[in-house]
Symmetry: C2
Subunit: 330 residues, 2 copies
């Protein structure tokens, strides 16, 4: 029998946690014992893993020395993180709460972790999508500037986001007043220009995070990235309108060939375009279309990207990072 | 009694036509006789103007010599346009079917028509919004590059667009299959990366139109404009994520003061942001927020714009162009 690894998943019952357990099972990750944990009140929650239903335990009383690998899907207090570290566990973080020093940011197929690292960060789902495309393109072009409007699905806010969009939509279709709860105003049939808390400098937290993580994954921290994160009334799937400024005039056949060749990407045919709902949903690939140069500037390249934020952008990338750890570290 | 002008409105019963008649009435435009016309079958349609209900007539049999001014809200065959021209009518076009040579493109408060012009074009609603903001800003900054993601309301496709979004949404909430008719795929809870027909070069018709009209209104035809028009599941109101590259580092207090001073704009407070539904709907102002410099590049300026595409972007601008014609030409 081949070697297996005992694993803890902190936040296993959320939308991403549920998909993560499914992806671990699908990809036949060598899981020994799996411990679903909760940073809040575990209560009597149960998480499904393959055929099994597993009782959710409290983080605070869990002995991390019993597992080799931890998936972090809920932010933890520093004291709990220190317990995981001193137990010697490898860790894949999806919360964005760890620093680049604590855990390098990695997108599978784009960059590799430093050899010694046992802790890795999986970035914002929009970064997984964007870095997959730009990682392929940088083989054939030099990037001077990236401008992106990232239209985020409400599932980026978990099940509560989904429930709120459904509830508000039903209220409006029944001519009842809308009562925003999770979002700061009406999200149904509307677009919100701020998908996360605004910092004093006017940028939203996720806009800063997207730019920083993209720079880290592409090893180009000085690359100017202009980003607006928009909360869209879409249940699943991020959609990105991207405009790149390149060093030289873009060669469209070369660009298309490069995108078509990339293992993580699906380039849709010319004249067609992908959508979050129709194409990306439930898929392991990032969809790219509307590939076109600038109207006035031949150094400009414009793209439209659609990607499943829960599966591809979160759960799958996290499991792929665990596979990297398995190969190099565990 | 002061002088009045007899007016024909071609396409008076559509969403924009209805609002145009309302705005003419509200602004006390000196209307004598008003003739609602239809380029298709007029049948027994009726258009409301103030207290009156007016019968819709056929364009083909209408004598344009009886009116001084024509609003064009439906594209016409060249032979009909020639009849309007030879009758000596002034004209305001909202269809985008006339060339810059036939009729210059004007946004009220931003640029002025050439003295002799009797025909004017009102641009895409998104151009009215964007040019209002950039027209104000160019007093205090030099533009090198404009990148815009224009998320367009379904009302840009008229009443059919509104009905389709409502129908698809109800189908999905009732777990029934969605049947796209007007749009090329599911628009409910989705974003479509192509809001109009795609040209052989990969740009959509409205993306080309937006860039060309913006360049014309700002008298900057060489200004690089990168544009993606996205069809959003929003009934009314266009939302624009805009990133500008300027000649010099931007001075934020100066920028905010300039936007705050502009008569056509409403700058929302720092920390807040406007939305199409909550702010712009039914308003004569273009709403601006999320004003912030670049994360890496101090010459970058990012903005979020919301504007009522039917009222501000179409009907009001068309009536304001008629007011310009009244002052200078009629």
């Amino acid at each position: 029998m081949s070697k297996t690894f005992d694993i803890a998943v902190i936040g296993a019952t959320g939308l991403i946690g549920e998909t993560l357990l499914m992806v671990l099972d699908e990809r036949e990750f060598p899981v020994g014992n799996l411990f679903p944990l909760s940073a809040g009140e575990a209560g009597s929650q149960v998480a499904a893993f393959g055929e099994r239903n597993l009782r959710v335990r409290d983080v605070e009383t869990f002995d991390f020395a019993t597992v080799a690998l931890v998936f972090l899907l809920e932010p933890l207090a520093p004291i709990q993180l220190a317990r995981i570290e001193s137990a010697g566990c490898a860790l894949v973080d999806l919360t964005g709460s760890l620093s680049a020093q604590q855990a390098p940011c990695v997108v599978a197929g784009v960059n590799s972790p430093a050899a010694a690292g046992r802790w890795l960060r999986s970035p914002l789902p929009a970064v997984v999508a964007l870095a997959s495309v730009l990682g392929a393109l940088r083989q054939v072009l030099g990037l001077q500037r990236v401008t992106v409007t990232a239209c985020l699905a409400v599932s980026s806010r978990g099940r509560d986001g989904i429930e709120e969009l459904a509830r508000q939509t039903a209220q409006l279709l029944n001519a009842r007043p809308v009562e925003p709860q999770l979002f700061d105003r009406q999200i149904a049939f509307n677009l919100l220009a701020r998908a996360s808390a605004e910092m004093p400098d006017g940028h939203a937290r996720d806009e800063r995070r997207l730019a920083a993580e993209l720079g880290e994954v592409l090893a180009a921290p000085q690359l100017p990235v202009a980003v607006t994160c928009v909360q869209a009334p879409v249940f699943f799937g991020d959609s990105l309108a991207v405009s790149l400024l390149c060093d030289e005039p873009v060669d469209l056949p070369v660009i298309r060939h490069c995108l078509d060749d990339a293992a993580e990407l699906e380039l849709v045919e010319q004249g067609d375009y992908p959508t979050a709902v129709g194409d990306a949903l439930g898929q392991d690939l990032v969809y790219v279309g509307r590939v076109r140069p600038g109207l006035q500037d031949p150094r400009e390249l414009n793209l439209w990207i659609a990607s499943d934020n829960v599966r591809k952008g979160s759960a799958l990338n996290a499991v792929q990072l665990a596979e990297l750890l398995l190969k190099h570290t565990l």
